[in-house]
């Protein structure tokens, strides 16, 4: 019995160790700079660091940019991946397996790796430094197609046949039978996609160059490297602020988040 107690203690120690960087960041962000590295239970709490950060850089604009980016990606991915996944799941045509294998290649070679060539494509299209250009390489998503195909394949064929007998067209069946049944997959995929693109950094760093297009991650890095020098309280406040919405959403919908990531990962 005592080994069990020991295990419980060890688990808790690891958990506390794991979360302590975050706790420390929260401490720093909510206290005056003087207490950034100096702990005291009597230290006054403050929101001044957040106010400073908010004023020192156009974070409101960055929030807007990121929201737009995530919105565009999400809508376009759903619109593009749904029909493709349906065709791969429920239709027969020559070359299907070859094309599907080509699609899956993207799981390994993400657009992130092909920065230089994609930058040139954007330059040719004349869309460098636009929110659209951040989203563009990710709109056709192998991951989304794969996940939805798996879900569509599990829809009972009888439902499809019944709708067909009632005279539903192909698109009508996709829209009224398949999409509603795949709702949990859409939720799972949506959460994964939102957190991926909210957090994405390298490609936006390369392709954006101005306040009106920069997403939060790039804005934060510009802010932390140039504007603030070494005031850690303000930098930490900005850091928490930019990841705040996602973190808050996670804490509120923890169960759905975890279930979604699990669903998205089992493949």
């Amino acid at each position: 019995m005592s080994t069990r107690a020991l295990e419980i203690v060890a688990t808790w120690v690891l958990a506390i160790l794991w979360v302590s960087p975050l706790v420390y960041a929260v401490w720093t962000a909510f206290h005056p700079s003087a207490y950034a590295t100096h702990f005291s239970l009597l230290a006054p709490w403050t929101l001044a660091n957040f106010a400073h950060a908010w004023e020192a850089a156009p974070f409101a604009r960055y929030f807007l940019n990121t929201t737009l980016l995530v919105g565009v990606v999400l809508v376009a991915q759903f619109a593009l991946c749904t029909p493709a996944a349906f065709a791969f799941a429920r239709m027969t045509f020559r070359g299907r397996d070859t094309v599907f294998a080509l699609v899956l290649l993207q799981l390994m070679v993400a657009p992130d790796v092909l920065l230089v060539a994609n930058y040139r494509t954007m330059a040719r299209l004349g869309v460098v430094d636009t929110i659209f250009s951040i989203a563009l390489p990710y709109l056709g998503s192998a991951f989304g197609i794969f996940l939805l195909r798996q879900t569509f394949r599990q829809v009972p064929q009888e439902l499809d046949d019944a709708a067909r007998l009632e005279g539903s067209s192909l698109l009508g069946r996709l829209w009224r039978v398949y999409v509603p049944l795949a709702r949990p997959t859409y939720l799972a995929y949506g959460l994964v996609a939102v957190s991926y693109h909210w957090n994405n950094f390298l490609w936006p760093l390369v392709i954006t160059n101005s306040v009106t297009t920069r997403p939060l991650t790039v804005g934060l890095s510009v802010f932390a490297s140039t504007d603030q020098g070494i005031d850690w309280s303000i930098i930490t406040a900005a850091t928490l602020m930019t990841s705040g919405p996602l973190l808050l959403a996670f804490l509120l919908f923890q169960r759905q988040f975890v279930a979604s990531f699990m669903r998205a990962g089992i493949r």
């Binding site: 690891l14 699609v103 657009p111 920065l115 230089v116």
Partner: protein, 289 residues
């Protein structure tokens, strides 16, 4: 049948065009570029054959970067996989405050890597960063964690493991929870110790999950370099320079597109080898289809 074919292609085409335009085409273009010289001013690119690859082999920075990335992968992959398994096993039992513990493990994965990098940059600060403060209690001196050749790369590895382990834990947890409970019952009746039960039953059953997690860890080891941009910019003296970061610098700070393309080809080959291994190891398992 032909009508159905036409429909199918019509449904697939929009997504396929986007995929081809930003994954397949740039991959082919990169291969092409690696055989040409970098255009400079009015001088157009010239076909140079394998010269870019030969130059790469003579470039000491490139070799350093490759070795760094190999070390980085060799440490972060097993460390985060082992930790994630340990976390999953510990959370998969009746435990007081179980959901809190799970949350503590998982929360770092929700943060952007760039936010993680900012937070840890502060911890690694000499003198008044968290680590030096803790060490000073035990009489330790001042450490320039990110500024020293010997500690900079290990510091980056720690950041990556912290960010990643909780994510992989989720997949192990899913696998553990789908295991039939009577298995553990049989083990108990047999009187086998938990240690031997784990190695004889649990670990083999987790193999598909381990492979899946490993592949993701490998991809991340070569793809996720946000923290390098924020924390060290590859320094000191290239001690934390990783392959993709070097490509980024070569392509966008020195505008040597031929060299960047050549290194991207190397990266693509690495990823292709991993994809091949995944296909060989996972291909026949029910896991995929």
């Amino acid at each position: 049948m032909r009508r159905e074919s036409l429909w199918a292609w019509a449904l697939i085409l929009p997504a396929l065009v986007m995929l081809m335009a930003f994954t397949h085409w740039p991959a082919v273009a990169t291969l092409w570029d690696s055989l040409y010289s970098t255009p400079r001013g009015s001088r157009p690119p010239v076909f140079v054959g394998g010269a870019n690859f030969r130059d790469l082999l003579d470039d000491p920075v490139f070799l350093t970067v490759l070795i760094n990335n190999a070390w980085y992968a060799a440490v972060t992959i097993p460390a985060s996989v082992a930790l994630s398994l340990l976390m999953a096993l510990s959370v998969n039992t009746a435990l007081p405050g179980r959901s809190l513990v799970r949350m503590a493990y998982f929360t770092p994965t929700i943060l952007p890597m760039i936010a993680v990098a900012n937070i840890w940059l502060f911890f690694f600060t000499p003198d008044y960063g968290l680590f030096d403060q803790i060490l000073s209690v035990f009489g330790g001196g001042r450490h320039n964690w990110l500024g020293q050749m010997s500690t900079a790369l290990p510091a980056m590895m720690a950041v990556a493991v912290w960010k990643e382990a909780g994510f992989f834990m989720i997949f192990y947890l899913a696998a553990l929870q789908s295991m039939p409970p009577d298995l553990a019952e049989v083990g108990r009746l047999e009187g086998s110790s938990r240690w031997s039960f784990f190695w004889r039953v649990t670990w083999p059953l987790l193999m598909p999950t381990t492979l899946f997690v490993m592949v993701n860890a490998v991809i991340n080891a070569f793809r996720l370099i946000d923290h390098v941009v924020v924390m060290t910019r590859g320094g000191p003296n290239n001690a934390t320079n990783l392959l993709l970061y070097h490509i980024y610098e070569t392509g966008f700070r020195f505008w040597d597109t031929a060299a960047a393309a050549t290194m991207t080809v190397v990266l693509l080959v690495v990823l292709a080898v991993i994809a091949g291994l995944q296909f060989g190891l996972l291909g026949r398992r029910a896991h995929y289809r």
